[in-house]
Amino acid sequence: MALQDEPLLELKAVHHAIGGRTIVEIEHWALRPGEHALLLGPSGSGKTSLINIVCGLVAPTGGEVRVAGERMTGVSALEKDDLRRRRIGLVFQTLRLVSALTVRQNLLLAQTIGRRLRDEADVDRLIGRVGLSHRAHGRPRELSQGEGQRAAIARALVARPALVIADEPTSALDDANTGRMLDLLFDSAAATGATLLVATHDERVRGRFAHRLELAARA
């Protein structure tokens, strides 16, 4: 099977329950490289739980998760950490950067941990791409909301992950900024060869994605 045909993310009979209450239930879903997708669902539909399961931060009560053909379930914590490090970049809504480091240092740290190499030129290119060259030596607390979000995208991409998962990247933004944020995500992903999985309950972004996984609201 050619690499191109192999799903970047594959969920097989994934089931997760907490205290007997089902949080996530997915029969089968696959995401192929380059097929940017939305993870849609209202609050409480299990989006965050599913992201944690995909990233290996939470073990599902049943089923199998594969990232780029490698198992994220049924393996040791160390193997999960390693797979996440090599394949996945995460963009959170509020948790963006390490507080004690500048934007540039944050990217260098993420690059060192994620790729185990140091390529300062690549870091500076990425900072330029997200339009933060003037803020490269700024601390996270000095950044505006939009700047912080862009820095988080750059931080997630610097390790060249195959899969970038963004959790509610636009819910705090107005229409104009939401458009710019999505452009930035698509452009950056195209530049680094990453595939996007964007979790949101923001209906405004629906039209920009051809693929989606919709989670139903749970009582």
């Binding site: 965050t48 914590a77 950490d81 490090r85 948790l95 950067l97 004690a100 240092q105 993420a110």
Partner: protein, 433 residues
């Protein structure tokens, strides 16, 4: 940007706490290092000074005082003993060598010691220039005396009565420097050595000129004076070794102490008892008295050590509090590190490294501060230099102090690090998002 650089960034981020943590540990380590340097250098110096001397014979009194004055030249002597004692000892088959010492005067605070060439051999002292004394009033000076008085060969000087500075001067009987010694790292460095006869000359003349009842001529018995009441003024100005016992008109030569080396081990069994049975004599064993001195000093040192250790524990506690508080605020950071791909071990190690770096900074600065204080103290107090205390001397035990400080730093970081290790990232993410 590595985990190491990240750790430095965190430490910089809370500068004040970091500096306080380091300062506390620095002071604790410096105190321990200081105590160690003083204790070990003092001990090795005292050992060197007492080496080769099996027994000291002097006037009855405190054996420790006899050793302090006769071997280390610190305290006042217990008194004088008749010169015949020297012959008595030399006739004993168990005695290998007996070296007389006649004390009582000083030149600018350096003690003038009437003795024989054998005393120099005891410490392996060699001449830097000049020659050995061979007649009365000739003097050979130790290296510290030469440095302290700038006395050249041929220089004439007069001794002052007493063993510290400030006594009246024996101006009619000047000494001439005929030789200067190389440094030995022993008590000889700060002594002025002359034939025993010089001391007799000085005091014979001195005494005759003050026959009209000058008070500075107590008998040997009066001098060690534990038997009757008299003022203790003499303790700073002990009896010169040339005094007649009580009758000032008839001078009989005396010495202050005799250093004895046994010919055989049998000496240790027979000689002290033999001497102590003589009415006016006592024998003191340097090794025994040295052990007593060190144990007395040791109680004080131990107390200070306990205080220094408590200070180090306080430092460890402050590192713990600072790390614990900092990590409460950094939960999001730690979660982010894990999300980026850092393993549990890496974030655990990062927190441990923070404690270790604080401890290493405190330990290294403490080591440097300890040695700097020793250096400054040695520069200010010549007595310390004379004792051989030097800032450049490193003791192997300092390595243990260093390792102990690093261990404390690790221990202080262990609980916060374990807490980070056990953190449920998904829960933290849910809380901080």
């Amino acid at each position: 940007m590595s985990i190491f650089a990240l750790t430095l960034a965190y430490l910089r981020d809370r500068k004040l706490a970091t500096l306080l943590n380091i300062l506390l540990l620095t002071l604790g380590v410096a105190t321990l290092v200081l105590l160690r340097i003083f204790a070990s250098q003092l001990e090795s110096r005292l050992d060197r000074d007492a080496q080769g001397i099996d027994l000291v014979v002097g006037a009855k009194g405190s054996p420790m005082q006899l050793i302090l004055s006769g071997v280390f030249h610190i305290d006042a002597p217990t008194g004088n003993i008749p010169l015949e004692t020297l012959d008595l000892l030399r006739r004993q088959p168990t005695v290998g060598q007996a070296i007389p010492l006649a004390l009582g005067d000083n030149f600018r605070g350096f003690r003038i010691v009437g003795t024989e060439a054998g005393y120099l051999d005891l410490y392996g002292a060699e001449l830097a220039d000049g020659r050995l004394f061979d007649r009365p009033m000739e003097a050979v000076i130790g290296s510290a005396v030469a440095a302290g008085t700038h006395a050249a060969l041929g220089q004439r000087f007069t001794g002052s009565h007493g063993l510290g500075e400030g006594g009246h001067s024996h101006e009619d009987t000047p000494f001439t420097v005929v030789g200067r010694l190389k440094p030995t790292g022993t008590v000889v460095d700060r002594l002025i050595l002359t034939p025993v006869e010089s001391v007799w000359n000085v005091h014979g003349i001195h005494h005759e000129e003050h026959e009209d009842g000058h008070e500075h001529a107590p008998s040997a018995e009066e001098t060690h004076g534990h038997h009757h009441d008299h003022d203790h003024d003499h303790e700073a100005r002990p009896a010169p070794a040339a005094m007649d016992s009580g009758r000032q008109a008839e001078l009989k030569p005396e010495v202050t102490a005799i250093l004895v080396r046994y010919r055989s081990a049998l000496g240790a069994v027979q000689l002290p008892g033999f001497i102590n049975r003589q009415t006016d004599l006592q024998a003191a064993v340097p090794a025994v008295e040295l052990a007593r001195i060190l144990s007395l000093v040791g109680i004080g040192l131990d107390t200070m050590r306990v205080l220094a250790l408590l200070q180090m524990l306080t430092a460890a506690l402050s590192i713990f509090v600072a790390l614990y508080g900092s990590l409460q605020k950094r939960q999001g950071d730690m979660a982010l590190l894990r999300v980026i791909g850092a393993s549990r071990g890496q974030v655990f190690g990062q927190v441990l490294l923070e404690g270790l770096l604080l401890a290493a900074a405190g330990a290294i600065l403490g080591l440097l501060l300890g040695h700097a204080v020793v250096g400054v103290a040695a520069a200010i107090f010549p007595e310390l230099r004379e004792l051989g205390v030097s800032a450049l001397h490193f003791d192997p035990a300092e390595l243990l102090i260093l390792l102990g400080a690093l261990g404390l730093g690790l221990l202080a970081a262990l609980i916060p690090a374990l807490q980070v290790y056990r953190t449920d990232i998904a829960r933290t993410l849910a809380e901080v998002q």
